[in-house]
């Protein structure tokens, strides 16, 4: 009972003490000025506007997309180039090896031929 009385006393004191304070004079004008400022179309900042052609937002978006796509493709394409180069080098090594073998074989054949050519003569001379 006592607690309820205390609470109602606190409530009544709070109600009397916490009163609305009126908005300052000119508040409406301030708000309206802020709204007008927000509605005002702002010019786009172009520091290098003299250099770059005026492009629309969509065009700029498309161009940016193209550049990004090109960069991605270039990045993805790099390993393929490396692989191609590796394959080329491997083929070159293979060809070199084959050439060496061919030359070796040719050399052997030449030696055999020479041996065959000269050995009967030597026999004949004997």
């Amino acid at each position: 009972m006592r607690s309820q009385q205390d609470s109602s006393l606190v409530e009544s004191v709070l109600r009397r003490s916490l009163v609305r304070r009126p908005a300052p004079v000119g508040f409406t004008d301030r708000v309206m000025a802020a709204i007008r400022e927000e509605r005002r179309p702002r010019p786009l900042k172009r520091n290098l506007a003299w250099f770059f052609p005026k492009i629309s937002f969509r065009m700029g978006f498309a161009l940016t997309g193209c550049v990004c796509a090109a960069m991605v493709l270039f990045t993805l394409g790099l390993p393929t180039g490396r692989e191609d180069r590796n394959a080329e080098q491997a083929a070159l090594h293979g060809a070199e090896r084959e050439l060496a073998e061919v030359l070796q074989l040719a050399g052997n054949k030449w030696n055999q031929a020479q041996e065959a050519a000269f050995s009967p003569r030597m026999d004949n001379n004997k």
Binding site: V10, L18, F27, V31
Partner: protein
């Protein structure tokens, strides 16, 4: 205000300058809410202006003038709470809000009011907002719950805890003020 009326809303949607009428009709509530919460004129003005800018951006979403008032109250409330959380602002009394001494018996004692406002501003954020909405704005518990987006039972709990916290301070202050008045 009639629930289905759209007089202010339609006027503002048709003409931007008519938005000033909405501000004139509701600024007492919005500004007082922010001021009652922070006890600081410049913060209250800034937050009230932010609330109106938000209203202007969302004007087309509102259904009636009553909806507009509720939406504005809810937005102002949230902006106050968000600002406190963001800035970790410690509430304080600025010079212009310190009451001057009055002579003679008056119903609303400015000293008591000032001291009590200071005590209220020391309450935790949500508790403070509940007290302001209940005793300054004179809202029902359901309306406070709606404005804060919390259940009614939570509002009751917060209010009860706030009153428990304020009770000894109020008792002390009322005794002091009564003594001061009797001594005059």
């Amino acid at each position: 205000m009639d629930t289905d009326r759209r007089k202010l809303l339609d006027a503002a949607l048709a003409d931007t300058d008519a938005f000033g009428d909405i501000v004139d009709h509701t600024k007492a509530m919005v500004y007082a809410l922010a001021y009652g919460f922070f006890r600081n004129r410049s913060i209250a003005e800034d937050l009230a202006q932010d609330a109106y800018l938000a209203l202007f951006r969302n004007l087309h979403k509102l259904e009636s003038d009553m909806h507009l008032v509720n939406w504005l109250r809810q937005t102002a409330t949230r902006k106050c709470i968000d600002y406190t959380r963001r800035k970790k602002n410690r509430p304080h009394l600025d010079l212009d809000s310190i009451p001057e001494r009055h002579v003679g018996p008056i119903e609303r004692d400015p000293i008591l009011a000032g001291e009590l406002a200071l005590k209220v501003s020391e309450l935790p954020v949500k508790m403070r907002m509940v007290v302001v909405l209940r005793f300054q704005e004179d809202l029902k518990l359901t309306e406070i719950a709606d404005a804060l987006g919390i259940p009614v039972n939570t509002v009751k709990t917060l209010l009860r805890r706030a009153l428990i916290r304020l009770r000894p301070k109020v008792a002390h202050l009322t005794t002091e003020v009564a003594y001061a008045q009797s001594a005059r």
